[in-house]
């Protein structure tokens, strides 16, 4: 079991979070959230992976053949749908913010202090 996919997942999550923290534009922030999500997709799929395993379709092979785990793939698809929805909401908010204040700097748009 190679370490590389997990390292990639960790890298994406960390850099997505750092990007979100340092972001000065709302759309950039939304894309960094997408990078963080990509990290979770990679982690999920890597968990189900096994060396030399078959696709989880048994039409032409015997039921004893080792296959990659379809459950994590289903989880990844669900995660992608959630990610798409949240990205859509965030982008809509960013567009409205730009329309009204002509700025998309999250620091300038902070709702209230205290």
């Amino acid at each position: 079991m190679s370490v590389v996919p997990f390292a990639v997942a960790g890298w994406l999550v960390v850099w997505g979070l750092v990007g979100m923290i340092r972001s000065t534009r709302l759309i950039h922030l939304t894309v960094c959230l997408g990078v963080l999500q990509a990290g979770t997709y990679v982690l999920l799929i890597s968990i189900g992976d096994a060396a030399g395993a078959h696709v989880p379709l048994y039409a032409e092979v015997s039921p004893d053949t080792a296959a990659v785990d379809p459950i994590v793939q289903a989880m990844t698809l669900t995660d992608i749908v959630v990610g798409a929805t949240v990205t859509a909401v965030l982008l809509a908010l960013a567009i409205q913010a730009d329309k009204h204040r002509r700025t998309t700097d999250p620091d300038e748009l902070s709702p209230m202090k205290g």
């Binding site: 979100m20 340092r22 968990i47 669900t78 929805t85 913010a97 209230m112 205290g114």
Partner: protein, 605 residues
């Protein structure tokens, strides 16, 4: 009984889809009636499920995918009394909010009813979920309508920003929870919480389980608004329309706290039983800190909705303390406290909404003395404030005494100080604001959050009268919370429900015996002593009156006191900057701290 659990989730979704289909042409009254009827139906369904789950936990495998050969691939909905009570609470609060919004909104957004129904479906599913990934799915399904509803007033940039902060922080928390779910799945190969608990039962808690536990908990803490993941609460509540605030603070946040208890006991029950000290230190510490911080912050607010949001932070802290003590009595107390808090907070937000509806502002300074002719609103606000302060026999006081009893069993009797501090400060903040607005006491209030410069009223400008139908839901909620403290045998019933919750789901789904969490099996003699609650209520009144009376002091003394308070509170106010980058840093810091504390505790014990 049959498919009732699935129906309770599906019916609001189907009706929402129907409303969406007819929405451009439907009159407002029709949408209101359909929404109220649907929510009332969900209330009835959840009540039936509560009654049914009292004897045996109701387990419903969606699609009929029951486990075979001890392998569970289906999605279970596991409904024990606590879960049914939470779903019922969610439906009741949405119903109260729906009735309030009948006359509150002059023009409801096109999608308001659709989104509220989706929100309700998400919350009911979240309460019922017996599978940890389904919990995540309903977490997101619950959150996304909340994000959109928070940012309803799109002409106001502060609303957009509040909604954006809320969305980013909650989604980041949800993703961290998903990482934890992935890790725990990698370890055990199953997602059903009952089977997870059984799979982890014999094993030692190693690094992967600790990290998975912390990640999953952080996601749920973010939803619950526990410090340091709480910054989004005040931002979102300050800008969301009032009926949405009622549901956000009344139920959604409480569901997060409930899920913390449910997941921790069901999945990690045996690990917790082995390492109780680590868990207690982490949760009781975080909860106590939140209780104090929220109380202090709510005293310094002049924006009424932000004040109430900060007090929610404080009360969630007390609830998490009750859960973290791992004593059935304390968990039962946390449950009663949670329900009482939901009812009171919903009523208080409605009162703030009535003021906004009438005068177009929720800034306590601008409202000073203007409420003199709205006697009933003032009375309701005073009752709510005293209830928050823990006046017996109102439900909140019962919860506090039970938590205190559990704390004494666990050897942490000093916790009562924290709970009393939370009650006194939050009750005082509400009472002070009420006296300022409705009686005209007190001069200009000092420090506090600045309201947005151009707060656009959620309704079409100030109204001259307040429709009675807007006051009825709040009055009913407050009457319910007063009655809650008077129901005989409630403490015992809550204790038994807490025992069922702490036993986990393994037995219910047929995966194995109940977890080893529970030590005592019967409810000891418990007499709710009234002195604790009376003392904290009296303390709240004293703090409120003295802080209002400060403007009668000689100028220099008043200036000195104001200056001292401002300097002491300045770092706290600076922390709540509303900047999203800061909040994300706190998320990371919180994760790191929790991993450290729990890892040290697990290794050390």
């Amino acid at each position: 009984m049959g498919d009732l659990p699935a129906l309770a989730i599906a019916v609001p979704l189907v009706v929402a889809a129907g409303l969406l289909a007819i929405s451009p042409k439907s009159p407002r009254l029709l949408a209101d009636i359909i929404m109220a009827a649907t929510v009332a139906a969900v209330v009835a369904m959840c009540a039936v499920l509560l009654w049914a789950s009292a004897q045996n936990t109701v387990v419903y495998w969606v699609g009929g995918w029951i486990p075979r050969h001890h392998i569970a691939v289906g999605i279970p909905l596991v409904i024990d009394p606590t879960a049914a009570a939470m779903a019922l609470l969610a439906a009741v609060m949405v119903l109260a909010s729906a009735i309030f919004s009948w006359r509150y909104f002059d023009v409801a957004g096109e999608l308001y009813h659709v989104l509220m129904l989706c929100f309700l479906a998400g919350m009911v599913g979240f309460a019922f979920a017996g599978d940890i990934f389904t919990l995540f799915v309903f977490f997101e399904l619950m959150s996304i309508p909340a994000f959109v509803l928070t940012a309803t007033k799109i002409e106001e940039v502060e609303a957009l920003s509040g909604g954006f902060n809320f969305a980013v922080i909650n989604t980041a928390g949800g993703l961290v929870m998903l990482l934890g779910i992935a890790l725990i799945y990698a370890r055990t190969g199953t997602l059903s919480m009952g089977h997870l608990g059984a799979a982890l039962a014999g094993t030692r808690a190693d690094g992967m389980v600790v990290v998975a536990f912390v990640f999953i908990s952080v996601g749920l803490f973010t939803k619950a608004g526990l410090v340091p993941f709480h910054f989004w609460l005040a931002d979102a509540h300050a800008v969301a329309p009032t009926p949405v605030c009622v549901v956000l603070s009344g139920v959604m946040v409480e569901l997060g706290a409930f899920a913390v208890a449910r997941v921790d006991f069901a999945v990690f029950g045996s690990q917790l039983a082995d390492h109780t000290t680590a868990y207690r230190v982490a949760l009781v510490g975080a909860g106590a800190f939140a209780a104090v911080l929220g109380g202090l912050m709510s005293l310094g607010q002049r924006h009424l909705k932000r004040l109430l949001a900060q007090s929610t932070v404080s009360h969630i802290g007390v609830i998490v303390t009750g859960i973290g003590l791992l004593e059935p009595t304390a968990v039962a107390g946390a449950g009663i406290y949670l329900i009482a808090h939901a009812l009171i907070k919903g009523a208080l937000f409605m009162m703030a909404g009535v003021l906004l509806h009438r005068f177009g502002t929720v800034d306590a300074n601008e409202l000073a003395g203007r409420g003199k002719r709205m006697r009933w609103v003032g009375v309701l606000l005073a009752v709510g404030g005293l209830a928050l302060a823990g006046l017996p026999p109102i439900g909140l006081a019962l919860g506090t005494s039970l938590i205190h009893e559990g704390a004494r069993h666990a050897g942490a009797g000093w916790l009562v100080v924290v709970a009393v501090f939370a009650s006194v400060t939050t009750g005082a903040a509400v009472l002070r604001a009420g006296a300022h607005v409705f009686l005209g006491w007190g001069g200009r209030e000092g420090a506090g959050a600045s309201t947005p410069e151009h707060e656009e009223p959620e309704t079409r400008g100030p109204h001259r009268t307040t429709p009675v139908v807007m006051l009825v839901p709040a009055a009913v909620l407050l009457a319910a919370v007063v009655a809650l403290g008077l129901i005989p045998g409630l403490a015992e019933a809550a204790y038994r429900a807490a025992l069922r919750l702490m036993g986990g789901m393994s037995e219910a789904v047929g995966a194995g015996p109940a977890s080893a969490m529970v030590t005592t099996a019967h409810f000891g003699p418990f007499k709710s002593s009234p002195w604790l609650g009376t003392a904290s209520a009296a303390g709240a009144v004293v703090v409120a009156v003295s802080s209002l009376g400060m403007h009668r002091l000689p100028r220099r003394l008043q200036g000195a006191v104001d200056g001292a308070i401002a300097t002491a509170m300045a770092p706290l106010h600076r922390l709540h900057s509303g900047k999203i980058g800061d909040q994300l840093v706190w998320l990371a810091v919180g994760i790191a701290t929790l991993v450290l504390v729990i890892a040290i505790g697990v290794v050390g014990c």
